[in-house]
Amino acid sequence: MSALYELPVFGLSLTLATYLCSLWLYQRLGRPGLLSPVLVTVIGVAAVLQLTGMPYDLYMQQVALLTLLLGPATVALALPLLRNGHALASSAPAVVATLVVGGAVSISVTVGAMVALGADDAMLRAALPRSVTSPVGLSIADALGASVPMAVVLTLISGVLGAVVGPALLSLVRVRDERARGFAVGMTSHGIGTSRVLGESTVSGGWSSAAMVLNALVMTVTLPAVAQLVA
């Protein structure tokens, strides 16, 4: 087995092939939110690592190309903000108020639940960036000294939750405004949620992706201070 996974191209082929299979499955089954391709790929690749006993460090070395591309991809998030920003700019006071209030709710519930149930500091720090789009969340987790994989997985779960129950939950509490629906989903479930509401309407999708980037910017500045206060 080790002869196979020691081939330098093993990690990248495994990751790309699993991702393609997950995409195919996702499209084939009518895009169910629960089968988000990234979640399926993470589980699939993790299972192969467990079964073959391939060390995680070796896998990371083999997929360095993907890690390297994360930087420019994060910078590229500027483009959806620029594209959808002017629609939000005319409602700036409402948008800012929602970002601040929503951010405060998100942080206090996370901290409250973790502290009340006695989770350790490390876990709390990894849970803080969970509403932030992964590329930015990664660097926040890193700055907080949190476990990056844990932060990524919690972020993925948040995104999948948003795609699966987000729109229904918003309808339940009678949020019908397309702009508000998009914004709420983008703020809580970043990219995965955004791709879900984009199917609902382009207005929602635009507001969602702008909210995702704005929320990431706000959290980048806020979370280090919060982490210092509570952990």
């Binding site: 993907l66 876990m123 509403s131 994989p149 989903v185």
Partner: protein, 148 residues
């Protein structure tokens, strides 16, 4: 014009990638030089936003698009490797399952509802005030704009 047509001869995806990488590099350099607490990649993101808002540099941002679009389309592929690292922490995850479920689920549900209701109320008030101020409802115009 002349500059644009010359740039058009270069491979667009590579050109876009170089623009994004340069912005990231400037961000990382700023982070180290100024000792800022904000990650360099995020500074790079802000730099591109600023360049895109200023008229003379807007064209540079447009050139980044051919690389940005495919990168963002498959953004999720890029965090498979860090996500797979969870295999090292399955124990930790299982031990903290309850607080995690409550923190992640609870803050997700509450934030979603609060943000949705609040923004809807604020936008409605704003639309009403604007349509009272000037005849045709500007809410519709805005929605049209957002679809672009």
């Amino acid at each position: 014009m002349g500059r644009m047509s010359r740039a058009a001869l270069l491979p667009p995806v590579l050109l876009g990638l170089v623009i994004l990488l340069l912005a990231q590099m400037v961000g990382l350099a700023l982070e180290t030089l100024l000792g800022l607490p904000i990650p360099g990649v995020v500074l790079g993101l802000v730099l591109i936003v600023v360049l895109g808002l200023l008229r003379p540099t807007r064209a540079v941002v447009r050139l980044a698009d051919p690389a940005a679009t495919p990168l963002l389309q498959h953004l999720q592929l890029l965090f498979v490797p860090p996500g797979v690292g969870i295999v090292l922490e399955l124990q930790n995850l299982a031990e903290n399952a309850l607080p995690i479920a409550l923190a992640v689920g609870g803050s997700f549900v509450l934030t979603l509802i609060v943000a949705g209701l609040l923004l809807q109320a604020l936008l409605r008030r704003q639309d009403r005030r604007r349509s009272a101020a000037d005849g045709p409802a500007p809410g519709d115009a805005e929605t049209g704009e957002a679809t672009v």
